[in-house]
């Protein structure tokens, strides 16, 4: 069943939206998905999922849907779903490892050179410290702005700005080292 997220939920504040979803309002849950799927996907990518990142997102939101009533504070939704995402990507990767099935890389559009460059950039971000890599995935992959990242992740704008600034600096250094090594 596809979950709708109606316009009427678009302007609701997060605590009220979480409360509505906890009360069984599936459209409200759909709006939570619309707002947080990009952050969850970024966490999946930052922690090693690529081909299976979409499956991780589905599993995270299914787990969240089932457990939403156990969430103690509606204000804590962002950090709560981020924690579910980190646990889920670990579970999925453990299952793949146990089955000795490497996840297939997705077929991507564009030239082979671009494809290789994109994968190199993805790997370079993954080598950064966690705070930087998740923030940079949200900015560079999902296209969220700094203020949007702060809102989604429940972080202060100042700390997101620092993470973006330092993360970009480290990423540029890594990519330059890689280019020089060719």
């Amino acid at each position: 069943m596809s979950v709708d997220h109606t316009v009427e939920h678009g302007s609701i504040g997060l605590p009220a939206l979480v409360q509505a979803a906890r009360s069984g309002d599936r459209a409200a849950f759909g709006e939570l998905y619309a707002r947080f799927a990009g952050m969850v996907h970024s966490i999946a990518l930052a922690n090693g999922a690529t081909a299976d990142a979409d499956d991780v997102v589905q599993e995270v939101f299914f787990r969240a849907f089932r457990r939403l009533k156990t969430l103690r504070s509606c204000d804590a939704f962002a950090s709560w779903i981020a924690a579910i995402a980190r646990n889920t990507v670990r579970d999925v990767q453990r299952q793949l490892h146990d089955r000795s099935e490497p996840a297939e890389e997705p077929a991507v559009a564009g030239s082979q050179h671009d494809e290789l460059e994109a994968r190199a950039a993805l790997e370079a971000i993954r080598r950064l410290p966690k705070a930087y890599r998740e923030t940079l995935m949200m900015r560079l992959v999902e296209g969220l702005t700094g203020p949007e990242i702060a809102e989604r992740a429940g972080l202060s704008p100042a700390s997101v700005r620092v993470n973006l600034h330092r993360g970009m600096k480290r990423l540029r250094e890594q990519l330059r080292v890689k280019t020089r090594a060719r």
Partner: protein, 60 residues
């Protein structure tokens, strides 16, 4: 005084100001990994029932 670094940071921060060529290139390359899948709940998804099933012995 606004420095070049401030302008670059402003673009990284909220895509305002002078676009940074390297960041634009990374955005274009990495957009292929962007999330685009709609959420689909299984037809039998029911939060209360699912939680009860998870609480049953032997269930993950």
């Amino acid at each position: 005084m606004t420095t070049t670094d401030d302008l670059i940071d402003e673009y990284v921060w909220n895509r305002a100001g002078e676009p940074d060529v390297e960041v634009r290139r990374l955005e274009a390359l990495l957009a292929r990994y962007r999330h685009r899948t709609p959420f689909v709940l299984p037809p039998d998804a029911n939060d209360d029932e699912a939680v009860r099933r998870e609480d049953e012995p032997g269930r993950a």
